[in-house]
Amino acid sequence: MEMFNFLPPELIRMIIFVALLIGLVFLNALVMVYLERKIAGHIQRRLGPMEVGPHGIFQTLIDGIKLIGKQLIIPRDVNRPLFRLAPLLAFTPVVLPFVVIPFSQKIQARDLNLGLVFIIAMSAINVLAIFVAGWSSNNKYSLFGAMRSVAQNIAFEIPILLSVLSVVLMTNTFSMQGIVTAQSNIWFIIVQPVAFLIYFIACIAETNRAPFDLPEAESELTAGFHTEYSGMGFGLFFLGEYGNMFVVCSIATVLFLGGWHGFTLPFNDYGAIIWFMFKVYFLLFLMIQIRWTYPRVRFDQLMNLAWKYLIPISLVNVLITAVIVKL
């Protein structure tokens, strides 16, 4: 470490954390794709991938290597700079929220006072990436996918913000660590079940997962906004999607499931990461199961769900919470 002495220790810590977090994003995507295939298989009473490695655990790794090795095809009439920019734009804002996620009491890259707002702001950039991808592809499927995606994101951003707000009203802080600490006695899912439900439903829509996967509905739009992407461009969108799922599930864990709280483990300051990961992957499992359970909704049903059910209910929920907190 002698040669790095000219750097401030805080900077070194940040750099190491960011490297680890990018590693986590990749690892999470590998695990998630494998889980997705296996769970899908077992729900349909088959086995899923079995060929590469024992029970096919290296299948996703091999797929990733295949994606990296593939040729990047850029169609002739696309808008070249934007077409190349879009996958990066989709991937970067997904890594940034990981900075403020409290994996345990001590494992956190940085505890911002405004951590929650930070995450929400970063997820706003993601929409723009989908838009850029869809528009620059110069393809009707892509354009429709992007338009659907944005209409969906605008509609479901509101219930997410409102349900998050009802928790913030109770804790009086935006700091992720502070919200977790406030749940040492009781998890907020017991106090705020409605907010949790709304948050979870809206998040499935926000991450474009089935049954709300209209932006990439394969039977109507081939692949939606990433129809024209091949190789690692597609791979980055994929990584971004799974990273996003991890982020929203970890916010749900922090806000409602008590974060890293649980039975005390050895080295609890660091070991509590096991609790956190367990809760996050439980929610991710639920998301995967939902994808393989429900059929895709129609677009008007989607909009009705957001504007007629989720938004009014979450508004009422916020009002009731505010009144009870003030009493």
Binding site: Q44, R45, L47, Y294
Partner: protein, 146 residues
């Protein structure tokens, strides 16, 4: 308003029911078979290409070279030829070829054989690179099987 609450109630209920159904399906044993590694017994009704039935005593085919199978075959895909045996009194089966590329698996040959010397085989994983690979020489196949 009552309708609205009802919608929410029944909607959530049906969603939960759906999750329970898929969860049950997930923990039940799988029904598919990992094909190249496991194989299940084929049903007796399966119709593959035809093959000669060996005579249990001699092990040779019990075909009497009447030619009924070739005559009845609607796609004319069976060729039967015989030649005089060594002493010149009996005929010996010298060629029994089925062109499987034309066969429609109708089963008339099996039904019409007076000696019951033809049956359907249970082979289902046939594959080949040329048409000629499906011109089966049934005498050779019979010897290979024994």
């Amino acid at each position: 308003m009552k309708q609205y609450v009802n919608n929410i109630y029944f909607g959530l209920k049906s969603l939960v029911v759906g999750l329970v159904v898929t969860f049950k399906a997930m923990i039940q044993p799988v029904v598919t078979v990992q094909y190249p590694r496991e194989e299940i017994d084929i049903t007796p009704n399966y119709r593959g290409h035809i093959e000669l039935v060996p005579n249990p005593e001699t092990g040779e085919s019990s075909c009497i070279i009447c030619g009924m199978c070739a005559k009845e075959c609607p796609s004319e895909c069976i060729t039967v030829k015989s030649e005089k045996s060594g002493d010149g009194k009996t005929k010996v089966l010298s060629l029994f070829v089925q062109d499987f590329t034309k066969c429609s698996l109708c089963g008339l040959c099996v039904e019409n054989c007076p000696k019951g010397a033809i049956q359907f085989s249970d082979e289902y994983d046939l594959a080949g690179f040329t048409k000629e690979m499906f011109h089966f020489d049934l005498i050779k196949r019979l010897k290979e099987r024994q």
